[in-house]
């Protein structure tokens, strides 16, 4: 008979501490769906997605029930559409986004990622068309998510792309102004994006990937917080150990479930992404873990060190538990999706500058941050450039998902609903970066030696 404490601990994690598998994401290659005729290409895309993921939702739900561990989202990631649509003669790819949305709706998944372009060095014709289609695509679809990789450690930062993305964010905010500029919540700008990330909005299925595969994103900030409550006042050696062990357990659960889904669907298991991803619910917050370590409020001095320890310990526990850890693995620090973070902003404990510092040690970047609607495109671009610099120099993924909420200013709040939550609008620096962003060109790849 299995140790009863193990059983009670697992049940407690789900019941009390909101442990869940955040997402099972099916990656589908669309490389064979390119066609000179856009209409034909879209038909192939629709047919392929709906055929490959036909049984996804049903199977995931069955496994969820057998194990008694909730799996919150079922998602799909596809090959970056700029690569596929580039073969067609179309001058806008909005129709591609619409067909992806239809396919997502047909198979009953929550989100579909891959309306993406990789432009860290330069643009192809397809990349340019795709990027300019983003605002409308995000305004007319519900489930489609978009990402653009504008920098990486090997080639530097494409500042032309950084400049354009400022404008694209502004335009997306305007087109979705009725819903607090919700479109921007479905758009991520990356440095060092990864090809196997199951989390949205940045998921896409890279060209080096399988025909189809399954990746899983495991969450569980509440579980880590609860475990740390048991070691109050103990040293950081103990804290790190507790986080590692907890991360191990939740990773193992995720791996077991995804392998079962993979076996039933006969689709290879790709990677486990162990990311502490908060939700706006009480008891599911990363900020509260940092506070549990002894900070009065998330954002005060010491927050970066606390987050560094958390992020590292989570990775270590996850890597021990599964041979195939990938994606973004670490701790996410979105503002609107984290109840503790929202409160920290409201109390004035955390600013955009501190968040930027935290992104040096967290798993991704500036995430789900609402700023005033009148923030200029060049300021948004400059924020992206700063994040890219952090990622490129430190060899890590960084990203920006920022929402200049149309018509709103400091002191107001944007409401996105569901897992996306709500965000108090944060101040940006009032001085201009216009002339800096106007230069364009490329910031060269950094030297990765002589580290200091």
């Amino acid at each position: 008979m299995i140790n009863r404490d193990y059983i009670m601990e697992t049940i407690g994690m789900v019941e009390k501490n909101k442990f869940d598998i955040r997402t099972i994401t099916m990656g589908i290659s669309l490389l064979d769906c390119a066609s000179e005729d856009g209409k034909r290409s879209r038909q192939k895309i629709y047919d392929k997605i709906t055929k490959k993921s036909e049984h996804l939702v049903k199977t995931v739900e069955a496994v969820e029930k057998e194990y008694g561990i909730p799996i919150i989202n079922k998602r799909i990631s596809v090959t970056p559409i700029s690569i596929i649509a580039g073969s067609s003669g179309d001058s806008s790819y909005v129709e591609y986004a619409k067909i992806l949305d239809l396919a997502a709706e047909a198979v009953g998944i929550d989100f579909l990622g891959g309306f993406s372009a990789l432009v860290h060095k330069g643009f192809t014709k397809g990349d340019e068309i795709l990027i300019h289609s983003i605002p409308e695509a995000l305004a007319v679809t519900k489930k489609v998510c978009s990402s653009v990789n504008v920098a990486n450690s090997k080639v530097g930062i494409n500042m032309d792309a950084v400049k354009i993305m400022g404008d694209i964010i502004k335009h997306t905010a305007y087109l979705t102004r009725e819903k607090d500029s919700l479109g921007c919540a479905k758009l991520v700008i990356f440095a060092n994006s990864v090809e196997d990330n199951p989390f949205m909005a940045g998921a896409f299925h890279g060209v080096g990937e399988y025909e189809t595969s399954l990746s899983v994103g495991v969450s569980g900030p509440g579980v880590v917080k609860a475990a740390l409550e048991g070691v109050r006042g103990e040293s950081f050696d103990v804290v790190s150990e507790v986080i590692k062990k907890t991360a191990f357990k939740i990773t193992r659960a995720g791996e077991l479930l995804v392998k079962e889904v993979s076996r039933r669907l006969n689709v290879p298991f790709n990677i486990m992404d162990l990311s502490l991803a908060p939700t706006p619910e009480i008891g599911d917050s990363v900020a509260r873990i940092l506070e549990e370590m002894g900070l009065e409020r998330c954002g005060t001095h010491g927050t970066t060190a606390a987050l560094a320890l958390l992020n590292d310990a989570v990775k270590k526990g996850g890597i021990m538990a599964s041979s195939h850890v990938g994606g973004l693995s670490g701790a996410f620090i979105p503002v609107s999706e984290d109840e503790g973070m929202i409160e920290a902003v409201k109390k004035g404990a955390i600013t955009l500058d501190k968040l930027e510092a935290m992104t040096c040690v967290c798993s991704v970047g500036l995430d789900m941050i609402a700023v005033p609607g009148d923030t200029s495109a060049s300021t948004l671009s400059a924020i992206i450039a700063d994040e890219c610099a952090i990622g490129v120099i430190n060899n890590k993924s960084t990203a920006v998902r920022i929402i200049p909420v149309y018509g709103k200013g400091i002191g107001e709040e944007a409401e996105f609903g569901g897992l996306l939550g709500r965000a108090p609008i944060m101040a940006v620096n009032k001085f201009s970066s216009e002339a800096f962003i106007k230069r364009g060109g490329r910031i060269p790849a950094p030297v990765h030696s002589f580290k200091n």
Binding site: M1, I2, R4, I7, M8, G68, A253, R264
Partner: protein, 108 residues
């Protein structure tokens, strides 16, 4: 359940390693008839009880049953529903989960 894509060793693992076993947990206030009601649901589903372990901690009754579901005549989903229903009548929570999750999460 579709076994046609399984390799022999995977099948062996499933039988030996526990897929055919599940854990039923009952948590709530102690009262008359908990075991009777639960085991009647299990027996109707042709589920064999292999081991029972129970304690009462601070008025809270917790019982863990190891059960064999190899010859079960309903789906695990359906069994869960029936147990939930019994749990509701008794005012406690009853659930069934595959056994391997507990091993996998807590053992290296």
């Amino acid at each position: 359940m579709n076994f046609k894509n399984l390799r022999a060793f995977e099948l062996a693992f499933l039988y030996e390693g526990g897929f055919m076993k599940a854990i039923v947990t009952i948590i709530g206030e102690d009262k008359v008839g908990i075991i009777a009601r639960t085991s009647s649901v299990l027996s109707e589903a042709n589920v064999n009880i292999l081991d029972i372990n129970q304690t009462v901690m601070r008025e809270y009754f917790t019982m863990i049953m190891l059960v064999d579901i190899q010859k079960m005549n309903v789906s695990i989903d359906k069994l869960n529903e029936q147990l939930n229903e019994a749990g509701k009548d008794l005012g406690l929570s009853i659930r069934v989960q595959r056994e391997d999750i507990f091993k996998k999460m807590h053992e290296i």
